[in-house]
Symmetry: C2
Subunit: 445 residues, 2 copies
């Protein structure tokens, strides 16, 4: 038997690493501990489960424990690691199913402990009808609670991606939905002018939106803000997440931004023989060069793959995140990547912005839909810094060409010249992204 790799966390960041390590190191003894009941699932699919377009919780599971066991990965669900000794290489493990604790030795460690929803310390925050939604376990509890309570009034606190997706899901279930946001505009990852478009789409679908209203307390039947009380049989916390890094930090692993685990290009943590990936760890934004905490499934899977290749004796690096996110809220497709105006300013960039309103495909086509593209370009050579694209059918994934452009360090002039796909069902003869790039180029002077 070779060295033992202990993987803590059985979702994408953990199991992608385990699978890659297994492939490259057949002799490695791999144990993966997951405190919940499911492995490798799509937390991003939870709103569609709640809304009803996905029918069963199990549909969100990409790979079951049996599949990993068939790869000789010893997956144990309902096993929580409660302590780590990195000097003696031992983990304290709680078998939650059988209520037993035991110690498990390891040689190599991969931390994929994920993130936990923010729960501000306010009266009523721990009441039974208040749900943070991050894991499939959270989803199971939420669905059970929905079945019991049959909520007529659902209030979502916060207006990030998952919160707004769940708000829409509850509208689809027939509930009366309110979103309460402390800031003046929803979806703070967008510039306020673009966030306003999201707010309009939400209101158009019948969601009550209350911005500039910090929550102060929750009671059995309401969410309380400075401005009054909002009826709520069910409360969803959409206030973002924090890295679940206490275990690692307590064991002496360095943490950084938002207490996320600091990793190098190979996803190695500060202690030799320890790796980390996913929602528990820090990334570098490749446009600003700054450390960020981005808890996204696609990043988790990429980092997990990189960690696993390196653990298995190969070589791979994670180049950083671009700050990409896409979603669809109340029929409005939303895509963003790179830096927003606020982020660009904070990073010290001077920039021009171009904002154009056009159509997703040729204007004469019957299904042409409105799209707004906002593009940020650095003054001087015009390096692409970021984009926000909001609109109908085909809007969101248009950020991908900007992702590629800013990853490769392209300028808006490069974007203008790119031979992007054109046919009337898909685009105007100048792609909307290029129309914005042309305007940015003109503004650069």
């Amino acid at each position: 038997m070779g060295d033992r790799l202990l993987v803590i966390g059985g979702d994408g960041a953990g199991m992608a690493a385990a699978a890659q390590a297994r492939r490259r190191a057949p002799d490695l003894d791999i144990v993966a501990l997951e405190k919940g009941r499911w492995t490798s699932y799509s937390a991003c699919g939870i709103p569609y489960l709640v809304g009803g377009s996905v029918h069963a919780l199990d549909d969100l599971v990409a790979r079951k424990p049996e599949e990993f066991r068939a790869m000789r990965i010893d997956v144990r669900t309902e096993h929580e690691v409660t302590g780590l000794d990195l000097v003696n290489r031992k983990a304290e493990v709680d078998n939650r199913e059988h209520g037993r604790t035991f110690r498990l030795g390891f040689d190599l460690l991969h931390l994929a402990t994920g993130a936990v929803p923010h729960r501000p310390d306010l009266p009523g925050i721990n009441l039974g009808h208040v749900h943070g939604v991050q894991t499939l376990g959270d989803a199971a509890r939420l669905l059970a609670d929905v079945k019991t309570r049959r909520p007529r009034h659902v209030t979502v606190v916060g207006s990030g991606y998952i919160g707004l997706e769940l708000a829409e899901a509850f509208v689809e279930r027939g509930a009366s939905v309110t979103v309460v946001e402390a800031a003046d505009e929803v979806m703070g990852t967008l510039d306020p002018d673009m966030g306003a478009m999201v707010a309009r789409a939400m209101r158009g679908m019948g969601i009550t939106l209350r911005t500039g209203e910090p929550m102060v307390a929750i009671s059995d039947k309401a969410v309380h803000t400075a401005a009054g009380e909002i009826p709520a049989d069910l409360v969803i916390l959409g206030l973002g997440v924090s890295p679940n890094s206490t275990l690692a930090a307590d064991a002496g692993v360095e943490t950084g931004r938002s207490d996320a685990i600091v990793v190098d290009r190979q996803q190695r943590a500060s202690v030799p023989g320890v790796w980390a990936a996913g929602d528990c760890c820090q990334s570098i934004n490749l446009v600003s060069g700054r450390p960020v905490h981005e808890a996204l499934g696609t990043v988790a899977n990429k980092q997990g793959r990189v960690a696993g290749i390196n653990i298995g004796g190969g070589y791979a690096t994670f180049p950083g995140v671009a700050g990409t996110a896409v979603t669809r809220i109340c029929q409005l497709e939303i895509g963003r990547t790179g830096l927003s105006e606020r982020e660009a300013t904070a990073a010290g960039f001077s920039y021009v912005t171009a904002k154009v309103e056009t159509t997703t495909n040729s204007g004469y086509m019957p299904d042409a839909a409105a799209v707004t593209v906002k593009l940020l370009a650095e003054r001087g050579a015009g390096r692409v810094l970021g984009a926000q694209i909001l609109g109908g059918h085909g809007a969101a994934k248009r950020v991908d060409v900007v992702v590629a452009a800013l990853t490769a360090g392209c300028t808006v002039e490069d974007l203008v010249g790119m031979d992007l796909g054109y046919a009337p069902p898909f685009s105007s003869v100048w792609d909307p992204v290029q129309i914005a790039a042309r305007q940015a180029l003109a503004d650069l002077g």
Copy 2:
């Protein structure tokens, strides 16, 4: 009055140049001659006009002559240039509307004469029911002919983009449609394995497909091939186009690949003070570095813009084409960019191919559709050489991220690491392009 710029051709390549030149050079006297009746139109929209989803021919016109005249561009439709003297800077012009010819002097010349459909010298090729479809004038004649003949049997000869789009349009009109192709597979810009998917989609929509059957003649009611005769009340020529470059070549302008006009990075032709853009001129494929003739509206507009900026005293360059094309044929979205296997081999590349079958968005979503991605990567560092993406909703425009990648010289490893947009309605956690890139990376060893 300043110098006179003569623009020959009033579609995108001509009028984009005229508009850019006007903006930069207010004193320039600009005359644009168009032999047809329309300016700046979308020839790519013709199949949707024939199929009925676009209702009026005028809907395809982006800008009318009046709009250019308001910009002080003297546009004259139904004016054909029949001769050019580049030494004395004079054009022979035929005013077709009034049946008069006259001479027009100029200082600067921009050639945007477009392309003409291939018409092989076969018996019956010039019969009245045989249509090449390249200009809006061709579309008007086709629509008038359809109205008179009410064709029940339509045969499309050749299986390029416009031919197949028109084949589908006639199915939508209720005709019985046959496509005859001399080669063994349809859509020769795709590799045969991918072309076979297009053939399946066509047959699935009731189109009769006859491959490996060169046309030998056309008669009043049939297209004749070596294998027999195919009933045809109406015949569409979809055999590709040739640059309309005779006028330029006769005047001493250098032509190259397929007799297309040779231009430099600024779209300057071989004779000083002469520019060219669009379907009449040659491009460089930026992956192979080789001259190509690509008659596409998006390329024409880009080249026209570059020519116009330079004519107006600015500076812009056209970086080359990537070989991108997207379309939708019989519900199948088709995107391709870069080099096919045949093209890569011809250019001297050694490469690996990765071909993956997956879904356009998360597999558990109700609207997840099948998609096949084929990716070519150069041996060694794994530079991205090309991609072909065929599938349902959201497949075609995924080539754009590959366009950006190969334009920037990225490798498949770069593609794997890119922070592409992910949300269940739009993508799996690894975008289909990245799933293919991962396989190519593994195959590179």
